[in-house]
């Protein structure tokens, strides 16, 4: 069976749980930006949680089905239609052969996840089907889907319609969104005042926000502790000798606009990083629209680990709900 792409939306890519193990060569892990939503979509249609589905940002694709299949759409809120008839999000429904899955205008969040029973079975690269366009890996010939593409899907039985993830087990950003930060890395480069400012100010998501990273603006410029720049670092006070970047790390080139690196992160570079978003809050970034207000919240390692455990419990509860 195949999914025929009629319209591709803005940027619709095949994603799974990514390809860890190649970051030391500049090839990021990639995979769904909002992992919890991708997992939930797969669970709803009876797939393994790491099966490949579609991630569509801001705008949904239009897809013709060549065979009956179970489908679930999670993540952002966006009207879902089958041959023009409304269906729900976070629930399993059937699309019959010849029918068209389409979407209305985005209502909240930024990215929807579309899982189809059997999962998308394009050729994996380095162990993953996730699309990484810069390195031309995964996806359809290393790129996002285009009209006319026919995506292969595995064989799998249909699941009962109406299975759903209860609202209490879904997670999206609040308004203003709160992103928890564990300071570290090159935090010491900032003055005490700059460090306080970073957490006091309200930032907004800038237009440059994609799978590689999210840029924020609107806060006061950050000042650096004065020093003679180390050999090889470069002249700007925000420069360091090029080092590795952590997933979720926050760099502030020139002290002006913070950039949070996400799933398709560059693996290293020459800007200081002040810390990183905790792992439990990475999914939330994938659901932030440009112009959303954001507060960065300073937390300690214990809080980060507790949040991580809480997220695991949520995923476990979804498993039990749909088991």
């Amino acid at each position: 069976m195949t999914l025929k792409i009629v319209k591709s939306g803005l940027a619709t890519t095949i994603q799974d749980m990514g390809r860890p193990g190649y970051f030391h060569l500049g090839i990021p892990e990639g995979g769904a930006m909002d992992r919890l939503s991708m997992r939930a979509a797969n669970m709803l249609v009876g797939n393994p949680e790491g099966a490949a589905g579609l991630e569509a940002v801001f705008m949904g694709p239009e897809i013709e089905f060549t065979r009956d299949a179970s489908v679930a759409v999670t993540g952002a809120e966006m009207p879902v239609m089958v041959d023009g008839e409304a269906r729900g999000t976070w629930t399993a429904f059937t699309v019959k052969a010849g029918q068209i899955l389409s979407f209305g205008f985005l209502q909240s969040g930024a990215r929807i996840y579309i899982a189809v029973s059997g999962g998308i079975t394009t050729e994996p690269d380095l162990g993953s089907r996730s699309t990484y366009p810069i390195g031309a890996l995964g996806g359809v010939d290393g790129r996002a889907v285009q009209p006319g593409d026919e995506l292969p899907v595995g064989d799998a039985p249909l699941v009962a319609e109406g299975r759903r993830v209860p609202a209490a087990l879904r997670r999206g950003p609040a308004n203003p969104a709160e992103l928890r930060v564990l300071t570290g890395l090159y935090w010491y480069r900032l003055t005490d005042t700059a460090g306080q400012q970073f957490f006091e100010d309200t930032w907004t998501v800038a237009a440059e926000a994609d799978r590689m990273g999210y840029r924020f603006k609107g806060g006061r410029p950050l000042e650096f502790v004065e020093r003679e720049q180390p050999f090889g670092a470069g002249a700007d006070p925000s420069n360091i000798v090029d080092g590795c970047y952590s997933y979720g790390s926050i760099q502030v080139p020139g002290g002006t606009e913070p950039i949070v690196l996400h799933r398709d992160a560059v693996s290293g570079g020459g800007y200081f990083t002040l810390g990183a978003i905790i792992s439990a809050d990475m999914d939330l970034i994938g659901q932030l629209q440009p112009n959303t207000q954001v507060k960065f919240v300073n937390v300690d390692m214990d809080t980060a680990l507790a949040a991580r455990a809480e997220r695991k419990v949520t995923i476990q509860k979804i498993r039990e709900e749909l088991g």
Partner: protein
Amino acid sequence: MKTRYTYGGDEHVYVEMDEEMSLEAFFKSLSMSNAVREADIPGVTEICPANASFQVRFDPDVTAPLEMLKRIQELEHTADKAEKRLTTRIVEVPVYYQDPWTHETVMRFRERHQDPNGTDLDYAARINGYDSVEAFIEAHHAQPWFVSMVGFVSGLPFLYQLVEREKQIQVPKYLRPRTDTPKQTVGYGGSFSCVYSVRGAGGYQMFGITPMTIYDPKQEVSYLRDFLVFFKPGDIVKWRPIDRAEYDRILSEVEANTWTPRVAEVEFNLEEFNKDMTGYNAKLMEALNDA
């Protein structure tokens, strides 16, 4: 050198050997990241060595962050004792300096540059005290380079010049990064040269272009059939200047899959190198004559 340990969120430990770049810091980082790999600590998923630092990514549910940091810290004395030598390879990389493609890009992004009235090479030559662009280009390719990090995107090598610090070329990055850089551009930023493995954004000054493919996701290029990325940390590179005719010839041979880079196996011993850099480099480059 003073080693600094810190966390990158709850999934990374970041270890910096030194704030400034040196081959000593690179060797220690490489030894330590190798020691971490050999220690096989449960939960470690990625080990990324960089110029003067390295990073370990791990699952904190398997090994708690504080425990992970301690385990890594315990390996420091092993790295301190490790011999600063490598069995590696020297690779000759052809470079077409002042090529038309990077020149077009240089001009297109002029308003983002420190000196909008010249080229990147004019600027780099001037601020490094060279009388002419030709003399500067000569300084760029006369001595070999050391791949001290692979990353940023898709197998991009960062290269560190094997000369005394006072002779090292240093240039700032663009004031604002470009949104475009031709594939296989030979660039420069801080004290590092690089080869852009794919087309895309970039902030390094642009000096030339190589016809040599260094990243091939389809693994069709003969010398990339085993693995899609060519460079690895520890590789030694000798740039060889070429003209347009040779560039075109090599490019068509790469495309026809009949070209392979000249490569020779060599030993690199940091202590010996430090005693007589020019003499040591001459021996490294001699190995290429037999390749």
